[in-house]
Amino acid sequence: MEQLLQQYDTVAQNKVINWFKAGLTSDFPANSGVCIKYKSKQIAVYNFRRVNQWYACQNLCPHKMEMVLSRGMIGDLSGIPKVACPLHKKTFSLESGESLCGDQLKLATYPVKIENENVYIGFVD
């Protein structure tokens, strides 16, 4: 379980080594999430059209270690963009990855950039 989690570390925008092309913007439905595969990682990507932002985080829910977060619903808590896990509705900030339910769980987040209708996710590997 630790091994699974250890694959996922937050990547800061200025540390990105590899901008991975995940697809065309049109592959990513508005105001919801999808999952992409990068090497052995599963990354959830959200096209938060309502606020014109894109977010990416691990697809693995740290609560029960299932690959489900891309299927969670997005929204905001007092302006903080968030995702709710479809299994037990734990919510996480899409900006910091931190749990918004008062527990210690945390998600790794990844930078996203859009260029010429292409969606890129930033990695350090």
Binding site: P29, N31, S32, C35, Q42, R71, D76, K89
Partner: protein, 837 residues
Amino acid sequence: MKKLIVIGNGMVGYKYCEKLVNSNRSDEFEITVFGEESRPAYDRVHLSEYMSEKSAEQLLLAPTNWYKENNITLHTSSLVSQVDPQNKQITTYKNEIFQYDSLVFATGSSAFIPPINGLEKKGVFVYRTLEDLDAIKSYANQLKKQGRNEAVVLGGGLLGLEAANAAKALGLNTHVVEFAPRLMPRQLDKAGSNLLVSKIQELGIEVLLEKSTKTILGDSSINGLEFSDESQLKSDILIISAGIRPRDELAKAAGITVGERGGIQVDEKMQTSEKDVYAIGEVALYNQSIYGLVAPGYDMAKVAVAQLLQEYETTMDAHIDLSTQLKLIGTEVGSFGNPFISDHSVSVITYENKLKGIYKRINVSKDGHKLYGGILVGDTSDYNTLFQLYNNSMKLPENPEDLILGSRGSNTGSAGNILELPDTAQVCSCESVNKGQICGLVEDGSCNSLSEVIDKTKATTGCEGCKPMVSELVEVTLKSLGKQVKKDICEHFSFNRQELYDLIKINKVTTFEQAIELFGSGSGCETCKPLLASLFSSIYMETANKQVEIQDSNDRFLANIQRNGTYSVVPRVAGGEITPEKLISLGEVAQKFNLYTKITGGQRIDMFGAQLHELPLIWEELIEAGFESGHAYGKSLRTVKSCVGSTWCRFGMHESVSFAIEIENRYRGLRSPHKLKGGVSGCIRECAEARGKDFGLIAVEGGWNLYVCGNGGANPKHAILLAEQLDEQTCIKYLDRFLMYYIRTAAPLMRTAAWLEKLDGGIDYLKKVVIEDSLSLATELEQEMQSLVNRYQCEWKQAIEDPQMIKRFKHFVNSDQSDDNLSFVPLRDQKMPRAWR
């Protein structure tokens, strides 16, 4: 600055810090806390939830950074090994020395271990800390792998029963062994205990009374117990829960006075024999007793903080209440005041119903004016009321027996109005919050909702037993002030569901985006999005394919997500009637996709373990075979259960299967505030359990009786008779009106039973609306329902026919691979998800 040291960071030690911080005078002290356990204080009362749903983090009373933020230095994993009151210093196990001006013992207690031979054997545990539970869990798992699963819990008190429940939940075959002739000997009399024994045995836990354990058998690990009567019992694991022993060892060694049978002696100021040294919680011996409950511990914390702050008038009450409710064991037990008292000045009133498994006892003064205490087993719904009457020495109703029998012949509750309680009535005993405080905060406008009251007072955050009462007090007070009890759905919409329903309909709003622009703010969330999705569907009969992004995860993929992220598939089998051909096709599909199959409680077949990308493929075949969506994933009509009725059954009065199919097909796809279930029985033997459903029909001489607002599930309720001897057409007319009225007015996620309970005027009012058309709405309701019925479409058919829609059923957008994190293990002749990691 004065130095304050607290030894022990358990529930009461934490509460002490919290009260000090809340006094706003904590900056007068340099506060250092030592806790032996590896984690900061957690909620021991809810420890058993760690066995099932809660993580250690969720049980923490405050996160680690709380201590830092409030300038409290917390040393976890730090046992204090010596206290030296002469030099006002303590020593830790690492030989570090710290000075203090004031010292607080909050060292709690440890499990009492009775003298038995063989305690050193492997497989013997106590039940007190998170570490204990971890150890029990992992030992139980090892045992199960070896095919061993006999568990014994020593002690049939409150904690022992809780431990037994936990052992049972771990899949162990569990026995409870009690020395006394009764279970919960401190709380129950013989009759109450007898009933509890039979209830617990029904849960599959064996009970042995009057057994004194002599020896733990086995070589290096336990394999059995021997009792003093020489009988033996097989046991692979033993959990000892035979009482508590105050942890007074430090104090004793330091020359501080302790009681003969343990516990640090304190006075009403929580002061020990040593100046500036206090003791609180389970280690404190007050009035010759140790109190193994949080509520008195929290009171002690309050007093000790006040004394530290030189508010000398705050002292401990002489009388300490030990009323308790047992939680978690699957049966209700409560005991308050003096449950046993039975001398000549007392009348004991008891009520026993063995069939229903209820026993109630109250001890009332001979003149019938005063309640001394009592016992409730099997039904504790009157606990709060009785406890208040007792605790406030309130005058009892004319016939005190009404308190436990209900006042026969009239509809009004027996114990009177909640507002009649005196202001000093303690409502939340864990946090000692009284009625006056709660109502006061609402009256002076500081709080406008239950959650604000909870935030301010912390009421309900302990054992939660007082929650119904606090919530009622808030609601009644708000109402008495003429304030509406606002039930905003979430931070994005300051409306309730009914208001939004009307707004959307009147303004002809058709999308979530429009709705949030017009009536809301922010971006929405997992509460308002599915709620609006449901409203759009109830108003326009749109399927979940239209606004995919606001559907709850299950509706978004038209299937129920399972514990490993795969899905279950449940096609509709209206009325439970299915042809052999269709059964065969279901079998073939399940076989082809390797799905686990099971007959559901709703008379249909569930196929589990389908991956996201397989869903459309599976449905293509099912639709080909003549199936349609069963909406098992939606807050919508589920099933209309039937019995065979007059077609086959020798007692059947009418054709219940045909009617059930007709009704199920009429309302299929209908989305509602919560799920809807129906039942149709062919005679009063009621084999379709129609009265356990949101609506039920039972065939009688001359037609059908229509029952509404029943519920199975967490709070079972029998449906109530709405109308008798109806013909089929009238049944449907009334059902249309009833369902549509419910859809319009219920709160989100409120089943019909709960809705009726909240409906002013209850069933009589509902009868007026549905039968007499008192609101002149009947035609409108019927027309609305008919138009929804006319617009029904199978959303799975819609989805697989549209290549655009089908795109969402893919695990990765950038790859055709499937989820590599999935794995299954064999289960009998099928499969199941591997356990959670």
